[in-house]
Symmetry: C2
């Protein structure tokens, strides 16, 4: 397998864009990524399109990527439509990575796009619910099971650790501070821990300001063979796995170990990370599962300030899912876009000084007791 | 890239199964494929799930493959949900092939599943329409544009060749004769050319008995590294490409040339083929585009009897899309299942004697003037 580099990245702002189509959003992110890579539409040799919910929300299924790519003139190449709930575009990225790594193509595009806002809010909720088994009992009330699932996990964690609801609120506050420095973020106004704790309860202990919002957006990356791009960020590890651990946390930690091994790196080498904080407490659990701190020490690690911009290992400098936003199918690649900017020193006011190794963790969906998909990518500066 | 073999195949009968879920259908085909390969669920190292229309028809999106695989105990591996309209499961197969060929896994599962029948027929039609750009003008009447698109192509072909509506009817008759010998086929009762020509006109010159039906079903294959399965059918070429030719026909013919080159074979080497007769005349065009006869000679080739069972190169021995059935996301892998049976000499009454090389052509969707995806696989006996 050949080494693969990321030659170009692009994304849209994340937010509520009722007047912009999936096509428009994706065209913007893809255009930015191609321009950043210095290539034209005719140079792309394979494309992987990630979208999780348009079948239900917009009614476009089957050929979602082609509806974006053909009008842009990206034609006559293999195009694959990929779906894996919140890990959708990480999955597209992994397959694009495999395509270049295996020598099947020299230049591949991976992008994610999602419109979750719809005039009929019921559609958005129905689509989100479809990231679990719609025939299962957990959905008998017709609602989305996810925040309740997260809440149950968090309540268990609180019993066996010293983490408190205030810690979770502080994660929201920290990430909002990061988002305030990110022009692509959906929510940028500062918030206080009190505001987070006093916002409406969604599923105890998760308040609204601890939960990722509905959002629209798109993100894209151009992958090339590394030997053709000596100055581009490298993909040191790319792994996707459906659950199957005894718990979702074990799924993440075992996949992280495999990714570190693939990269020849350890948690201590990671300077900056984007993690899947679909609800804020998940970030604290991720510190432990990714090996940034010892098991059970997540709250202490947070309180140390290590994961804040200016700390030893900033986490979610983009603002994360709760503040940067979480248009499901776009999130995985958006994490990568942020980390490439960090590794290039192009992250502006939220730049992590001296970032040389970065990790992205993206997880999505739930079937039975399994995370439907977990993706971990490790990137390094050239 | 390593050579890849097909160690196991399985499928359900195709038909109308309002009382069977996608999960049940897929579990049957996957179970059959694993049993055929002599492996257990724990042996599968990566899985690619193909489904094109469940988001609209059943409401299950995002994690369709996992909803099938987790209950079967296939967990803790990479799972990808893949979609490419009628070429959906061929696309899943191609990515599974790449996974084994690249050394990312030694054993990979690819399957397709589709339920097109629904109590609300409107859902089925809306889902089929989503295999084109739903924002395009061709869909302004709210219907499916595909049979009209095919008909327009066929009318143009009739002007520049000697093919007649009777030829197209004879294709339906031939393939129904094949389907009569296939216990997995959706329609098995003999029909005459008169019956085909007198069945209701869908889009001139396509009558109902020239058009593929709505259907439900699933098909699955297990891929392994060839050196581990010396007696298994080989994948000599695996190619997927979105359109981009000046016409869809040029897209097919150029991809076929690339596939023959990859396999080191020529059209003359092909003993048996399954081709994408979404409407019967497409089979006749495929004879030309795949190089089985010269351009413009499709009708003559058909009339020679070459493509009938017992002829020099039987085409669609399964009955093809019109008679075997066309549950969209299952069709591509079902073609492969049929061809593996043919290459093993396990096709029963419809066995093509001495079949050593087989070709599958699968095409899907339409965006702009492009086929959204065309897939060609060439298989050979070990």
């Amino acid at each position: 397998m050949r080494e693969v580099a990321i030659a170009g990245v692009g994304m849209t702002s994340f937010g509520k864009f009722l007047d912009r189509s999936l096509k428009e959003l994706a065209a913007e992110s893809i255009g930015n990524a191609l321009k950043d890579a210095g290539i034209g539409t005719g140079d792309v040799q394979a494309a992987f399109s990630g979208n999780s919910m348009a079948g239900i929300i917009t009614g476009q299924e089957s050929v979602r990527g082609q509806t974006v790519l053909v009008p842009l003139g990206i034609r006559g190449i293999p195009v694959f439509n990929v779906e894996n709930a919140c890990a959708t575009s990480s999955s597209a990225l992994h397959l694009a990575w495999m395509t270049v790594a295996s020598g099947s193509a020299d230049i591949a595009l991976a992008f994610g796009m999602e419109k979750l806002y719809h005039q009929e809010r019921e559609r958005s909720f129905r689509a989100l619910a479809a990231a679990a088994d719609i025939e299962s009992d957990t959905l008998s009330d017709g609602g989305s099971p996810f925040m309740e699932m997260y809440a149950e996990q968090v309540r268990g964690y609180m019993k066996e650790s010293e983490a408190t609801a205030r810690d979770f609120a502080e994660i929201s506050v920290k990430n909002r501070e990061h988002a305030a420095l990110n022009p692509y973020a959906q929510f940028r106004d500062p918030i206080t821990a009190e505001q987070v704790l006093e916002s409406p309860m969604i599923a105890d202990p998760l308040t609204r300001l601890m939960c990722s919002p509905i959002g629209d957006g798109s993100a894209a990356v151009v992958l090339v063979r590394a030997d053709a791009a000596p100055d581009a960020v490298r993909i040191a590890a790319s792994m996707v796995r459906s659950g199957g651990g005894v718990s979702e946390r074990e799924s993440v930690s075992s996949l992280a170990r495999a990714a570190y091994e693939m990269a020849g790196l350890s948690p201590a080498d990671v300077h900056v990370a984007e993690v899947h904080d679909a609800a804020s407490p998940a970030e604290l659990l991720a510190y432990e599962d990714l090996g940034f701190c010892a098991p059970g020490q997540g709250a202490e690690y947070l309180r140390s300030g290590a994961t804040r911009l200016g700390g030893e290992r900033p986490v979610n400098p983009s603002g994360g899912l709760v503040s940067r936003g979480h248009p499901v199918g776009a999130t995985g690649v958006a994490q990568i876009v942020e980390l490439v900017w960090q590794l290039r020193g192009e992250a502006g006011e939220r730049q992590v000084d001296g970032a040389g190794v970065a990790l992205a963790e993206n997880a999505g969906g739930n079937v039975g007791h399994d995370a439907a998909a977990v993706a971990i990518h490790i990137l390094r500066a050239p």
